[in-house]
Symmetry: C2
Subunit: 425 residues, 2 copies
């Protein structure tokens, strides 16, 4: 009888692999976790949030408005401030893609990804994505019965030639009609820390447009910009919203959760029609709108420039922590391990020699645990793509939440484990 | 090409009818809206929330914890306090149904309803529900391609005989295997203000159990208790969780949003396995957890008894507003209009003479608008049930958000419109 209890979606949905890792960390108090994507505790704007909330709640009328339902779409002032801010980040192109009435406020960008996927994809559809990519998005696709196809990454984003060859082969097999979107984590990607160049966003959009006729419907670019503002080196890349003539194909998902405070859950999406209308209706069914109090908090943070001030401090802090991790990696990791120096985000992505497996079932993962250090095995970030083999010699290590001391000690422990594993071969 | 853009779910999902009504209200500044399900502005705990948030944010460590991610399931202290509170409301039965580890915190009870429906129902499944019922839940079912079948209401809840005859006829046609749940808004129901007696919850659960063998799977009772604490007269009824031996069939969805502050969105669900695990995983994909800051706020409110104090004041206020509405209804509504005096909640449900239609397309609805007063047409609260005709002579009028002055004036206007309509026949 048990077999039939759940819906197909309910039966398919798996707990995200990270929750298993987090439980592991909680059950071992001496463990140093370089696994979690949590942000830095000391960078959290406790004092600022206190003051901002006081500004709202000290006024009876502002307070009442913040504690009452808002609209499903989200607070108009917050949408205007956010749209203006995005427009400015993208260097003010002449474009209607930054209109506040195209924006919907969500519970973090995570909910926006869920809503967009609900509105766009049926079971059996295909989403193309980076190989590797954000594992929770892989979980969303898997739970909804949507297939994921991985596209190789280069130093500046997707390998466009490979994107084309995948589209071409899907066209040949008649499967292009199942392709609904390309999903990119375009800034300091989780897990690789790679940022997609504006040129590649343009190229991807052009390519998708060429295959739409054969697909029989639009193919959207979902740009997940969750880490955009966590840049601590170099200049911002423009988003896909700034690609001329592509506004009706770009879905931009952003958030205030990662750059400001993960305990408040305020994200947003810029959406073209007819997706905008569908996502708004589905959001109405989910929760008829994100907490008005949290939205007012972000409105105040933007209006008073507390948000911008906070970003400056946070960037200095992450730059320093990334520097600490970089230095200790150089000191303690064996010379045949490679990694990319991130310009932002929360992660280093390390590639071991190909024969050294480091997945959850590997001897290396167990040795690391025995040495009381935890990382995210890279294999978790690869799609179950029948056409590609999962890579199993990469790891994500985060400098986000760990203290500088723990970063040093954790990387040192991991370095010893790696040295032993490489020597043993 | 447009036809294929959205998923089946995306294409099916409609904006909730209430959003059309709310836009109408916003566009007509002189309109008195007795339509919205908003709570009373003056009852919102602005000062209390300010103090509670200060208690959290004045401490660096508490503040950091509130501004950081929590777990997907929700804050353990909040779950313990909430589970204890429910247990106490249900008069402390010996039961494992109130264990905090069966509870998941959600963004209002609305999200819990969405998650449960995702975990339980496939397209083509059937949910039995009250006739009339909460229209946003009807929207969830419609968007997911789930059929709704209405069961007549009596003064103390579902007509159990009719529930049985519907189950029997579904069994005969071989459709019982499609029935996944019965959905009840069991306290001061939206829209009728009817409270389901404990006896009827028992009877419904017994009946469902008898039909499970023929269904081939469990049939759950979803108890939506969103209005439970908005009682201002009489004693609380026990929830279905207190029905002995039924813990594995009851899903209880509650909220702090309606009774405390709708602008904070903290709700919860008590769930039996295997639903608990499925809903937790789906919640992880939605947003990996409700805002920790809002959860800490509710934890503080419960720990300091501010919540309980607030309930007392709010109940006095709603009792008074309901009294004002009752009196003016008696004074101004024609004698052949009937309504139930609510013991709680936010609504009066008025039944006009059968030949007076009051749906959105009716002359009466237009006359009411011309007289600058808005109500919710009852027809919106009926399922698209092929086996039953929609009732079209009922209306929901709310005393929640309108001031006492507006309640008096709004009902007076509506009374005149009704008197003219009845006289014209």
């Amino acid at each position: 009888m048990k077999r039939n209890v759940l819906s197909a979606l309910g039966a398919r949905t798996q707990p995200p692999p990270i929750s298993w890792l987090m439980q592991l960390a909680l059950s071992r108090p001496r463990l140093i976790s370089l696994a979690a994507g949590f942000t830095d505790n000391e960078s959290l704007p406790v004092r600022e949030v206190q003051k901002l909330l006081e500004r709202i709640l000290v006024s009876r009328s502002k307070g009442e408005s913040a504690l009452q339902y808002g609209s499903t779409q989200g607070d108009p002032a917050l949408r205007r401030l956010t749209a203006d801010y995005l427009h400015q980040l993208d260097r003010n192109p002449k474009s209607s893609n930054y209109a506040p009435d195209r924006m919907i406020i969500s519970n973090g960008s995570q909910q926006m990804l869920y809503l967009v996927t609900e509105a766009l994809c049926d079971t059996g559809d295909i989403v193309l994505l980076e190989d590797p990519t954000y594992f929770v998005y892989l979980g969303i696709l898997q739970s909804r019965g949507v297939e994921a196809r991985g596209i190789r990454m280069e130093r500046d984003g997707l390998n466009i030639e490979q994107l084309e060859s995948v589209l071409q082969s899907l066209k040949k097999t008649g499967d292009l009609r199942r392709v609904k979107a390309v999903y990119l984590v375009s800034y300091f990607q989780n897990p690789t820390a790679i940022t997609t160049s504006f040129r590649k966003k343009q190229a991807a959009l052009e390519l998708l447009r060429r295959y739409e006729r054969a697909a029989g419907h639009p193919i959207f670019l979902i740009e997940d910009a969750a880490y955009r503002e966590l840049r601590f080196r170099g200049d911002d890349e423009r988003s896909a919203l700034a690609v001329r003539g592509a506004g009706d194909r770009v879905i931009y998902a952003g958030t205030y959760s990662k750059p400001f405070a993960t305990g408040t859950r305020v994200g947003f999406g810029m959406l073209p029609e007819p997706l905008f209308r569908a996502v708004l209706s589905i959001k109405g069914n989910h929760d008829f709108g994100t907490s008005n109090l949290l939205q007012q908090l972000m409105t105040q943070a933007l209006q008073t420039s507390q948000y911008q001030d906070h970003l400056r401090g946070m960037r200095r802090r992450y730059a320093r922590k990334a520097g600490v991790m970089s230095q200790i990696l150089q000191e303690t990791f064996p010379p045949d391990v490679e990694w990319i120096e991130p310009d932002g985000g929360l992660y280093f992505w390390a590639k071991l020699p190909k024969h050294i497996r480091c997945g959850t079932a590997s001897a290396l993962f167990k040795s690391a645990l025995a040495s009381e250090v935890l990382y995210v095995p890279g294999e978790l970030c690869y799609a179950d793509d029948p056409t590609r083999k999962k890579v199993n010699h990469e790891m994500r290590i985060s400098f986000g939440n760990a203290s500088e001391k723990d970063i040093r000690e954790g990387v040192r422990r991991l370095g010893s484990v790696l040295a032993r594993a490489i020597k043993a071969r």
